[in-house]
């Protein structure tokens, strides 16, 4: 009984909706003035609302409503106002026509239009940046797409830079983004399922996938999770991400985000699903595995031998990000036996004047480094370089000379910092940087044993994480031997005939086998 009493009631009280509930499904009035009044009441204190009556024979015949700044007034003027004002109201091709039909025809050549019959639809249309047109004596109106929202042009994404590869990146407009994808997959099997999220923001979100490649169960899961979101506003895809990810209490990102259309397409071709959110250039891709975070799109644009090697380097670097400072602390504090004698002597000499134990020194330096990084990002560009200069002077030279930190520690921290920036996915890099600190503490308490404990705990955590039903550590654990070829190496494209099994399924083949080039197949016979 107590439990039942304490159980929370489903909260449904003062839910915020985009407009007052009084106009819910209210039909348009036949009088123009009544409609105008309702609209004006709704948009009270909205200075950007423009209502523009057009008269015929001294009487308002038609009312044009739009939000200034969202609507392309130039096209509106050319397509609608100019003909109306200069040529007068057109008459139908045949005798009797409603004014609405005439205007519809007039606009037909200019822009897509939609018939409406309620205030809601009218308001929705206006808020989307369309122009609403209502008529005297008619209970129907038109919403015409004169959308002219300010747009950023397509630029190279700032967060994901490649040497070779396309230079276009997503923008804030979801339509532009979908067109960038459509350009790459010219097939009707590329789908965009639209829905809106956010009670007030009414942000359009689109589930993007390639029909026949993405599994239906994954799609159902994505649809289900997205439809459950109840939020007032969505400003960035991260808002969505936090609602639909599998596990919140982990530093590891379980959803990939990207600014690059080519990455999205590559993932769609592997059977994954992308979620596009309006007003942000960052598109979400699900499911994500740990190894996705360590693969760069450029791996697939360069020769495979080189990129296989670079992947190896990256794996070493990502281990260094997590373990290097703690290994240094553990070795110098607990296991000096493991350090070669000459190296040990020089480390000991460098540490001679330092007052702190290695663990404290490491924590200070790591903290300062994180501070420098944060300051460097937040500062305006004009003063940004000052941070790196001051940082280099402070932690590179002065602190060592003053005997506060030792030079080997500076080397270790700097190397760790560089290693963390070599991880292609920024949010995975941040996760690893975060794990460095508990590792440091464990190393400070238990030495190398502590690091192993941390390693085991981390492994347990990683192998039990999931991303949309896919174990996070696939294909290493659970092991899928055929998929390992794209994890530890980047095999040549003709050898990568099967898609990843966890999204692709075991029976589907990506490209036919036997395409290995050779003098007989590729070139002409001599």
């Amino acid at each position: 009984m107590m439990i039942r009493l304490r159980k929370k009631k489903h909260f449904d009280g003062n839910k915020i909706t985009p407009y007052p509930s009084t106009i819910k499904n209210e039909p348009l009035h036949s009088e123009l003035t009544a409609n105008e009044q309702i609209i004006k009441d709704l948009f009270q204190n909205c200075a950007d609302l423009v209502t523009h009556p057009i008269y015929e024979a001294g009487k308002p015949k038609l009312l044009l409503i739009y939000l200034d700044g969202l609507t392309d007034t130039k096209t509106l003027e050319q397509g609608l106002l100019r003909p109306l004002l200069y040529e007068g109201f057109p008459h139908g091709l045949n005798k009797v026509h409603s004014l609405q039909q005439i205007i519809e025809q007039q606009l037909f050549a200019v822009t897509p239009i939609k018939n409406i019959s309620t205030i809601d639809e009218l308001v929705d249309g206006i808020l989307m940046g369309n122009a609403g047109i209502i008529f005297e004596g008619e209970i129907k109106g038109i919403v015409a797409d004169f959308n002219g929202m300010p747009l950023r042009s397509i630029e190279e994404p700032a967060t994901e830079i490649t040497i070779r590869g396309p230079r276009d990146g997503f923008t804030e407009s979801i339509r532009t983004n979908s067109s960038l994808l459509r350009r790459r997959i010219r097939s009707s099997r590329l789908k965009f399922e639209a829905l809106t999220v956010g009670e007030l923001s009414q942000t359009s979100v689109e589930i993007t996938y390639i029909e026949g490649i993405a599994s239906e169960s994954l799609l159902e899961e994505v649809r289900g999770r997205l439809s459950r979101i109840e939020i007032d506003g969505v400003l960035e895809s991260e808002y969505i991400e936090e609602f639909i990810e599998d596990s919140s209490f982990t530093p590891f990102p379980q959803i990939q985000n990207t600014e690059r259309p080519d990455i999205v397409i590559a993932n769609l071709l592997e059977g994954k699903v992308a979620i596009m959110v309006d007003n942000t250039p960052f598109v979400l891709i699900v499911p994500m595995t740990f190894w996705n975070g360590l693969q760069s799109v450029e791996d697939y644009y360069e020769r495979f031998l080189y990129t296989s090697f670079i992947r190896l380097v990256r794996y070493i670097l990502f281990n260094m990000t997590m373990y290097l400072p703690s290994v240094y602390v553990a070795l110098t504090t607990y296991h000096p036996k493991l350090i070669p004698t000459t190296l040990l002597i020089s480390i000991a000499a460098a540490r001679e004047g330092v007052p702190f134990p290695a663990i404290v020194e490491a924590l200070i330096m790591e903290f300062v480094f994180e501070g420098l990084r944060e300051a460097g990002i937040r500062l305006p560009k004009a003063v940004g370089s000052a941070v790196s200069i001051v940082g280099a002077l402070v932690i590179g030279q002065a602190a060592v000379q003053a005997g506060i930190v030792s030079a080997p520690m500076v080397i270790v921290v700097a190397t760790t910092g560089i290693a963390s920036f070599a991880i292609p996915r920024y949010n995975l890099g941040t996760a690893l940087r975060l794990i460095r600190f508990p590792m440091l503490l464990l190393a400070g308490i238990f030495g190398l044993y502590g690091i192993v404990i941390g390693f085991i705990a981390l492994t347990i955590h990683l192998v039990t994480l999931r991303s949309f039903g896919v174990p996070y550590f696939t294909p290493v654990a659970p092991q899928i031997p055929v998929d390992l070829k794209d994890v530890f190496f980047r095999v040549p494209r003709w050898a990568n005939t099967a898609g990843p099994i966890f999204t692709f399924g075991r029976n589907k083949q990506r490209i036919p086998k036997g395409q290995k080039p050779g003098p007989q197949k590729g070139g002409t016979k001599q």
Partner: protein
């Protein structure tokens, strides 16, 4: 909670390899002298045979675990008795391994902290993996750790090749004779015999038909690795010295010196060994909790973790010292667990089960 064939393979491999390498080589060397590799070879074949029998037995009822099908086959009381025999083995061995682990780690790795601190950190990991991941989590961890162990063993062998003295292996068979070789066989066999845990594990598999192949391969690769390492120890240290050492493998590792730069890497070897011990402990921990829960008909087996964990902590504290561990291993393990739990009961269950199946077929 489902296990794949590959997970069984890696589980069996990591489960067996670490502790056999650490604990058995000295005692076997005592008995079989330079013929210990023969002992290990025999133990390998018999060990593979044991896991084959155990898996075959479990496959009689692939949907049921040992606790369930032993009662199905033998009736409530006799079946419970058999389960209790296994529970004694599992419960007693965890405290033992835990203590051995902390003593050994303290000796080689870090002398300062008290054993209970290490026991506790390891117990935390065990609770974590069994609670969050269950047998699936343990299986996946073994998939990560198994390759690390294989690579380390290969490194060990490659790096110690330069210290090999082929005279150490001579003379073959003359010094020892069949009785002492056989005596040496028993200890590693008792360790390989721990693979009877397959009796429980098969019920977690999503494709039980792969069980035999995976388990046998796991034990075979593990046995092969162990044989190679034992030979390596023999070739480097010779029979007299290594028989006197408690953990000869790690002394072989400490022999390794690459260009006077990579030295004292037995510490690294301990780290890798800890990975294997972790798998071993967590598997036993899971089986102890899960088995006991099934025996007492407790629906949520995870509740038993909170009872088992303190119990094992106390058990590990109660073990007097690590020479006791050797005693436990040489007596209880060889004279009780090996004949009864690892050979006797599986064979009995297999015989009864097959007979019943045949009888049932004949009836219809």
């Amino acid at each position: 909670m489902k296990l794949s064939g590959l997970q069984i393979f890696w589980l069996m491999f990591t489960f067996e390899t670490g502790n056999i390498i650490l604990l058995t080589i000295g005692p076997v060397m005592e008995d079989a002298k330079q013929d210990l590799w023969i002992s290990y070879l025999i133990a390998s074949f018999l060990g593979v045979f044991i896991v084959y029998i155990a898996t075959k037995t479990a496959l009689l009822h692939p949907k049921h675990s040992l606790v369930q099908f032993s009662r199905l086959l033998l009736g409530k009381w006799l079946g419970t008795l058999i389960v209790i025999a296994y529970l004694i083995q599992w419960f007693s061995v965890i405290g033992n391994i835990l203590r051995e682990f902390s003593d050994f780690t303290i000796t080689i790795l870090l002398p300062t902290p008290p054993p209970w601190a290490l026991n506790q950190t390891m117990l935390f990991l065990l609770i974590y993996v069994t609670y969050v991941g269950g047998i699936e989590g343990i299986g996946r961890c073994s998939e990560v750790f198994g390759p690390i162990i294989i690579i380390s063993v290969i490194m060990l062998v490659v790096l110690s090749i330069k210290d090999f003295d082929t005279q150490n292996i001579m003379p073959i068979f003359i010094d020892s004779g069949i009785p002492s070789i056989w005596k040496g066989t028993l200890i590693p066999l008792a360790f390989f015999g721990e693979s009877v845990t397959m009796l429980m594990l098969v019920s977690f598999m999503n494709e039980p038909q792969k069980a035999i192949k995976s388990a046998v391969w796991g034990i075979a690769i593990s046995a092969f690795t162990v044989c190679i390492v034992s030979l390596c120890v023999l070739l480097v240290l010779g029979p007299e010295i290594s028989a006197k050492l408690r953990h000869p493998t790690f002394d072989v590792v400490s022999y390794i010196s690459v260009m006077d730069f990579v030295q004292n890497i037995e510490i690294i070897a301990v780290l890798v060994w800890i990975l294997s011990v972790f798998i071993k402990l967590s598997l036993y921990f899971f089986l102890a909790c899960y088995g006991a829960a099934q025996l007492f008909n407790i629906k949520n087996w995870r509740k038993l973790i909170w009872i088992a964990a303190p119990l094992f902590f106390i058990l590990a504290q109660l073990y007097p010292n690590s020479s006791y561990t050797f005693g436990y291993m040489k007596t209880f393990w060889v004279y009780y667990a090996l004949p009864i739990n690892m050979v006797g009961i599986p064979l009995l269950l297999l015989a009864i089960g097959s007979f019943r199946k045949k009888y049932a077929h004949a009836k219809h």
